[in-house]
Amino acid sequence: MKELTLHLLDIAENSVAANSKNITIYVEEDTAKDRLRMSVQDDGVGMNADTIAKVVDPFYTTRTTRKVGLGIPLLKEAAEACNGFLTIQSEPGRGTRIDVEFQHSHIDRMPLGDLAGTFLSLLIAYPQIHWTFIYRANGQDFEYDDAPIKKELDGMSLTEPDILSFLRQMIETGIKEIQPAIN
């Protein structure tokens, strides 16, 4: 993977597969503390302690179409190579929370990449899920909670071109507004 947001997308897909109704994605860049944090929190089926221990093993996967599950091991390795870590908290029936941290300035840290495109892709593809995205850049927040938006749309599809355009611009502008705080 070339971008951290691709890992984020991958982890979020796990949350979708876990039958979650609510998924919150948090991304924070803090240059003063020199940290980059990301978390994905869901209320899906969750995992027991035994399974949590296994998911960091590349030769473990719940799927039957292939024999390896690389998503979490890849991200864990990337984080640990950049003075960071990956932790998993989960409880069967309650959900899962994955936290990952990097040293922001680390030479091997992948670029964050296309945050807006990643969010948009998820919220369009899985409209049945209640999505919350929070991006924090040196203390400034962009928050996207799709509950009031879906209420306003009253059943209209998110893929209607005008709606899609509106959502894309809303997210892109929201992120662009605070991103300069990083550079």
Binding site: E13, V16, G71, L122, E160
Partner: protein
Amino acid sequence: MTTVKSLEDLKRVREEALEKRKAKVESGQVQVIVAMGTCGIAAGARETMKAILDEIEKDNLSGIVVTQTGCMGMCEWEPIAQVIVGDQPKVTYGKVTPDVARKIMKDHVIGGKIVEDHVIPA
């Protein structure tokens, strides 16, 4: 985010979209599915997805459902996308780069002509 203002804007956009849709002839539901497993994502599926959404926006394509799915066990063909037009059988495409995705949208989704070069052989 100025929530109040944005939601007001959204109300207007929604009403306009409703008007436009009324004026259009419904040509049967089209479903586009992008495989977004680790293998798909690593192969560029997010950019494929973005190209599809961009075509919908640019060509003002109404009534298309875009969803994602996980790994289909054909990782070597990623990025993979599937198109279902109305009650026709599902067509599975492989090596769907953003350019191929745009071609599929134009030829298959709008034009009704399957892009044979990129169909995964059964």
